[in-house]
């Protein structure tokens, strides 16, 4: 019940929508459910609406974990 994908905001439109990058084209999504969203943010999109901004700090923490796993240092 939760099909949603992370997409990056390319521009924010005056009508409460944002254009997000979807491979080589742009998709319009409604961002009225977000308190704040900025160009460059990754958002999770469900049925044409952004439901959250991805926290890149957390994403980066997660990536560090991956680096650690990859180099065999454990958690």
């Amino acid at each position: 019940m939760c099909l949603a994908v992370p997409l990056q905001i390319e521009s924010i439109n005056p009508d409460g929508t944002a254009s997000v990058k979807q491979a080589n084209s742009l998709l319009e999504v409604d961002i009225s459910l977000l308190k704040n969203a900025s160009i460059g943010d990754y958002v999770i999109v469900h049925a044409g609406y952004a439901i959250e901004v991805l926290e890149t700090d957390e994403a980066e923490v997660r990536l560090d974990m991956f680096d650690a796993l990859e180099s065999g240092n454990g958690n």
Binding site: M1, C2, A47, E55
Partner: protein, 368 residues
Amino acid sequence: MRLKAEMGINDRYHDRDIAQRLVEEIVELSGKLARQVRFMEVCGTHTVALRRHGIHSLLPPNVKLISGPGCPVCVTPSGYIDNAIRLIEEFDCTVVSFGDMVKVPGAGGGTLAGYLGSGRVRIVYSPSELSALAGVIKGPVVFLAIGFETTVPVVLAGFKKALADNRKNLLLYTAFKTVPAALEFLLADKSHRLDGFLLPGHVSVIIGRLAYAFLEENENVSGVITGFEPVDMLVGIKSLLQLVSNHETRVTNEYKRAVRDAGNPTARAIMDEFLEPYAARWRSIGNIENSGLRLLPRFSDFDAAAVFGLKDEMDTDAPGCLCGSVIQGKVVPSECGLFGTVCTPDRPVGPCMVSSEGTCAAYLKYGA
């Protein structure tokens, strides 16, 4: 699939080496436990994603994943579809729906797909299309508003826009359901033998980690909020194993990049603005307290069930159909005598087989 351009942010979550490393840790943890552990994935999207990425083939035999009632189509009583057909046939409405509901048969056997050609049923990808549709269609336009908390605020946002655009002809036929109440219901049956839940990542985006506090306070079952990419799901399973190994009962968040403690306040506010909780009827289960959300009385002019006097949905399972037990995780699809023979996605007997996220459809399609 081989990509020519970088997928960027999701690449790591499909990384084979990371996944294999997580599998090794899962094997090690479950080996030390030396007993069967049973985790339930609540969400139909997890049921499909686990299988689509072949995760079952990587798990050790003593880690059992049970599929739960997380398919909003599967838990909607069959009478809902019959009522939707009545809206078309008797009340001259145009019915608008997500693609998911269109193939599901009602108790009478009919589906909405048959009305696509005539335009009496329209499919939308997003509720943001509702206002414009209501603007060009004459007569009442009824949106089939089903879904869990991921979808609820999204439907409401589309509805709110239609109200702002003064579309008096857009109504909602709601069958919204909520996850926490479903979990409590499942746990009330003490024979559940569950060690933990893989909690739905995107529902949790809306409701937040704190919405599962009752699990920590009352039950002996852990929960791990889990995302949907292959590495996310392996991390979720590993975390559950760690909690079980440490004899801890907690709710942890392994989808922190998207899920906050308090969820999405704007989304929760729009739900409070339009909806109130009630005891919704779950297919083959019956009514569960506080498990549904319906329009507040002041929006009754837009409530299709009220306006058209739709009766409570009947709930009849065909003889031999075990969907009710399947969605509660009490049986696996292969234990149903109709599975894959009489009941297939082309000729489904119950919703678990026809819904794209139905447990039976997923098991048949990907090989359990």
